[in-house]
Structure formats: C-alpha cells, structure tokens
Symmetry: C2
Subunit: 200 residues, 2 copies
C-alpha cells in the first residue's frame, strides 16, 4: 500500500483545509497516511520570524484570511478566525506525536482543527484536549501524563529536525516515499497522485 507523509502544525490555517480531507481522499485511492504533527515555530525562528509570516506581512495576512474564507466555502468547511492567531499548538502537537500510530490519530487531528477553526476554542487548553481524547475512547489520563515525558518532548523536537532535513519550510507539507515534497493545501491532490509513483 503506497504511503504519503502528512506534515501539519495545529496552528496552521491551510493545514486545517488538508487535515479535514486527507484521510478520506487517501482511503479512496488506497493510500496510507503517515501522520506527522510538528511545530513550525522553531523553523520560522531560524528565518528570524517570531510569529506567523501572516502577522509579519500585513497585506499577505489580510489576503490569507479572505482566501481561507473562500476556500472553506468552496470545500464546505466551517470557518472562524482564531483569536489569538497563531494559537499555541504545542500541547496538541505533543498528544498527536505521542498517538501518531494509534487508530484515533486522524479523528483526534480533525477534532482539534474543528475546535479551533469551526468553534473558535483555545486548543492549548488541556481540559479541552483531554475531553477530545476521552470522546475518541483514548486513555486520556495516561496520555496527558505521558506528554510531559522527556521521550515525547525530545521525540517531537526530533520530528522538527526531520522536517527540516526533508526541506520542509511550511505547512501543510506532503512527502512521498520517494522523498518528493509538496507544500500547501493546493498541492494535496498532486501529492496523492505522486504517492503512487516516482514523479519527475
């Protein structure tokens, strides 16, 4: 079964558009998704950015919000603008990293994005995150304990380093088994197509 790696940051607006659709689209084509929650913050910091590029460039930021509204209408997804933006995605990323190979990872990922971009909730709230896990039948209490471990913290940091090694500079990003990188929700379909074959 061909595989596609999906790299996403929970605070990333365009990652929302892919996260809500990727598991279904991949299943339709017989592709397995490898979930890679990670953090863009450390990668942005190396560019000298202390926040989202959409906050640093006012015109680009204003455009992005309008574009997100249009894209969500077109994809049939609800959309509210998170305040503040970007949200602190670290706790959700640690949970998703810890559970990246569990059966609930897709549903958990979608639930976090839905909380943020449909309901306007604060996704750094540990009670909210624990409630989502419980709803999915996951051992919430154990997981909320485990994510404070050095193993999870170091493991997530290693994922950021691996993202950089793969040439990733933004999210969502998709990487095929042959190392072909695709960036942005606009490339989701091409990435799925490429998952079947060596491109180029």
């Amino acid at each position: 079964m061909p595989k596609l790696s999906f790299w996403y940051d929970f605070a990333s607006t365009y990652s929302y558009l892919s996260a809500m659709r990727i598991e279904t689209l991949a299943a339709d084509r017989g592709i397995r998704i490898e979930w890679h929650p990670f953090l863009l913050g450390p990668i942005f910091k190396k560019q000298g950015w202390d926040t989202s590029p959409f906050n640093l460039n006012r015109a680009k930021g204003a455009y992005m919000w309008r574009d997100m509204e249009r894209q969500c209408v077109s994809l049939g997804l609800p959309f509210v603008r998170p305040i503040p933006f970007p949200q602190n995605s670290l706790p959700a990323a640690r949970i998703a990293y810890h559970g990246r190979r569990e059966t609930w990872i897709g549903a958990f990922t979608r639930a976090v994005y839905h909380m943020q971009f449909a309901l306007g909730e604060d996704i750094s709230n540990p009670e909210l995150l624990a409630a989502l896990l419980l709803e999915l039948g996951a051992p919430a209490k154990d997981i909320m304990h485990d994510i404070e471990s050095a193993e999870v913290k170091i493991g997530l940091r290693a994922e950021v380093a691996e993202a950089e090694r793969l040439g990733i500079f933004g999210a969502p990003s998709f990487v095929t088994e042959h190392g072909e990188l695709f960036w942005g929700n606009d490339r989701l379909d091409e990435a799925l197509d490429a998952a079947f074959m060596r491109v180029g």
Copy 2:
C-alpha cells in the same frame, strides 16, 4: 464584458505560468484581461527584502524550482531556470506598461516570458526586447525611445503604488471589478470564475 486585472512581474516564476494561459482562458469565458505589468522589487524592499523571497529562504527556494518543474510539465510549458534569478524586469515592464492597451500586449508579455523561461535569455537586453516588438509589428524604435520618458517611468511607479493600495504583495495577482484579490497561479481559475460575479 466582465474584466479581470492581471498583475504580473516579468521576473516572477509563477507569473509565467499564468501569463502563458490567461488570455486564452479569459477569451473562452468572455472575459477581458486588463494588463498590469508592475515591479515587485519596491514592494519586497518595504518588507526588508533585497531580493526574491526564494533566494532569502533556501528551503523555500529549492522547493519552488522543483514545483515549477512539475507545474510546467503538468501545463505543457517548457522550463529553464533563469540565471541570474531574479532577472532585471524593469525594461520589459516599462515597455509593457507603455503598451498595456495595445493589441500586442498579450503577445509581447508571452514572448518575454518565453525568452526567459523557455530559452534562458536575458530579458533586460534592449536589443532582444526591440526585436520582439518588431516581430509583433509594433513601432519598436519609438517605443524604446518612449520608455525613457518621465511619463512612462512615473506611470510605472504609480502602478506599483496602485498594486499596494489593492493589497497586492506578490505575483501573479488577479483583481476583479469588485476589488476581489486572488494571489498565485493556483488561483487563476477561481479568479476567472469570480470575474463574473461578486464573490462572498
């Protein structure tokens, strides 16, 4: 007849992908293109950038070249990487600004992009630009003289200011008669759709 404004910089890679297709796509839908050659340099400078963002961010730059290769294959367009990048687009922009309402503007725009991205020519070369104009039946000698006038220089500068007023921060960009902005070759189809109606 609905109208769509097309804002492009001759040095912009993704503008090439739109410029080669937009006139045909618009004609098929009964849309008139308003040509807006402009310069991204002054807009990038205000962000503190002294070159293309693809040169400032190595990972993003490496990705862009690979993505351009793939997009050109997919669109059936030839592609060579211009050296140096970005090219000096000022002389071509002045010619295109001067001739923005002439019948040859579409053909001239495509010819400049073709010279750069298919043949690897230096598009700041005045002899090349004059030869292209001649081939299109335009009064090349007069035009090459006119583009040194204050009228053309100031007019092109005013176009950059107008681009900023419209919220433009990159190229290609498309603006409908209702002021709806679309950025990137990936939004060309949506922009053409929106040219018919008020979106949102």
